[in-house]
């Protein structure tokens, strides 16, 4: 079966500035594909080539087996898009905006538009310029879902969404996935990707660093834990655990970098009196550390936070 998205040596250069270079990846139908990287890594550039806003310098990108440049209309009919920097027509009300967009697409059921607007608690009667950032984002979401697309392209989708709306967004995603929806989701934060994606591409400075199943990514992700004890921290008891990558002690507290599940660490900690546990979401930085550590493309001594690594097993 033809992949929904097929990038082959996709390259976009802007004069001397970097765009993306030699990106090759496939997204099969039904997958939620994360595109993870820091700002400026080329995520938006990649998305803009998919929608034919910009044209590749070399290489190709195909959606549903079609070239968006040639078959833009047929491609766009099947794609829902939520841009990272959402710009809407300020003078229209939400309803006017959505009706305009519904008229540009075939087969939009207005009852469905009303349904998802209600679920997102969007007040369609207000002018867009009077809406808060989060409410504008809702108009953008409804617009992206309204025609029940086969592919959703989301650029940093949950930026500015309040947690309640995020939950509605995730359940909408799940429902549409039931129909076979494919999703391309770019993000610079790990939790967003972890929550919904099946597979994740990691991009950095315009290049693909890795494409991984989310399971493997989680298994390798570095997690940072801080354990507070009622006695001077028993660092030695943790140094021998195979999942522990780094240990720092500050008095009664122990900072640990753990690769993969933290289970062994917690069980070891249970032998002592634990006053507090603080966890930090795995950051992109940590993720990159894992990858650049593995393939040796960045010397470990340059990576931040690696001092005091003598405690590594």
């Amino acid at each position: 079966m033809t992949p929904v998205i097929e990038a082959s040596a996709l390259t976009k250069l802007y004069g001397s500035a970097r765009g993306v270079e030699e990106l090759t990846f496939d997204v099969p139908q039904g997958e939620v594909f994360g595109f993870l990287g820091p700002n400026g890594a080329g995520k938006t550039t990649t998305i803009r080539t998919m929608l034919d806003f910009i044209r590749p310098t070399s290489g190709t990108i195909r959606l549903f087996g079609m070239d968006p440049r040639v078959d833009g209309v047929r491609v766009h009919a099947r794609v829902g898009y939520l841009p990272g920097e959402l710009a809407l027509y300020q003078r229209l009300t939400g309803e006017e905006y959505l009706r305009t967009f519904a008229s540009l697409r075939d087969g939009v059921e207005w009852s469905y538009v009303e349904d998802i607007s209600e679920r997102l608690l969007l007040d369609m009667t207000r002018r867009i310029k009077d809406l808060s950032h989060g409410n504008k984002q809702k108009v953008g979401l409804v617009q992206a879902f309204m025609h029940r697309p086969d592919l959703l392209v989301l650029d940093e989708p949950t930026q500015g969404l309040d947690p309640l709306v995020q939950q509605t967004f995730y359940s909408l995603l799940d429902e549409e996935r039931g129909r076979g929806l494919t999703v391309f989701l770019s993000s610079h934060v790990m939790p967003e990707v972890e929550r919904v994606c099946d597979r994740v591409a990691i991009v950095r400075e315009g290049r693909l660093v890795a494409v991984e199943d989310i399971g493997r990514l989680k298994a390798h992700a570095l997690r940072r834990l801080e354990l507070h004890f009622d006695t001077p921290a028993p660092a030695d008891s943790f140094a021998g655990l195979p999942s522990v990558r780094e240990i720092h002690t500050h008095g009664d507290a122990l900072s640990l970098s753990v690769e993969g599940p933290v289970d062994a660490v917690i069980k070891q900690a249970a032998r002592f009196t634990v006053v507090n546990i603080e966890t930090k979401e795995p950051s992109l930085e940590d993720l990159f550390l894992t990858y650049f550590g593995d393939d040796g493309s960045a010397p470990e001594s340059d990576a931040p936070g690696n001092e005091g690594q003598g405690a590594m097993p």
Binding site: L51, I54, P83, T100
Partner: protein, 264 residues
Amino acid sequence: MSGLLAKAMRDQRRGMIGWGVGVAAVVLMYAAFYPSIKESAADLQAYMENLPDAIRSIVAGEDYTSPVGYLESEFFNTMGALIVLIFTIGAGARSIAGEEESGTLDLLLSTPVRRRQVLATKATAIVGAAVALAVIAAVSITLFGPVFDLSVPLADIVAACVMLALLGLSFGGIAFAVGAATGRRAIADAAAGGLAVVTFIVHAIGPTVQWLRPLRPLSPFRWYQDPGLLTGGLHLRNVLVLTGIAVGSYVVAHVAFERRDLAS
């Protein structure tokens, strides 16, 4: 597609209504001055003759105090042209470049519409708005003129207003094309507006400045005004030249916009 056109028309409506009221007000004001101008015709004529040639060729035609001369000098060659040009150049620059700069073009083009459809509907809406302004001008002159003894045959008013719309569409087309090619509204405004000012001056003072004279045919104002807007009906060649500028600009916009990357 119809939704696209409806949106484009709606975008132009506000501005068009505002400038339309302006056109009507200007016509009414100048018409109201006309009786006193006519009364002091002899004095004015003498005053005009004492002006330097260059100034006179800008502010007044040959026969300033006749209804035709007065309307041409005070409305069609100055204020009327100015209002229509401000509107069409602004609308042309805003169409693509404005929407691109504000970022709304992205979502619009993510729907199953072609870039060329967006161009076509936006251009159609501008043409519609320019025609509407010209109609407002024609109606205002026809209604207000006779009240103040400023009567010109209807056919001549219509002909002059057709030329007014075409003048607006040639410079509006240039703004549209520059905007579609660069995606920069300020550049589009400045290019078309600057060109309008320069070509207006070239045409206006051309007769008295030796070295400018050969450049006059390059000025759209030559093809707008000469040999007279309110006399002799439509001049086919003038219509063709101004239409050619507008259509040519549209073609340039089309070619440039289809090819380039959109700004993010």
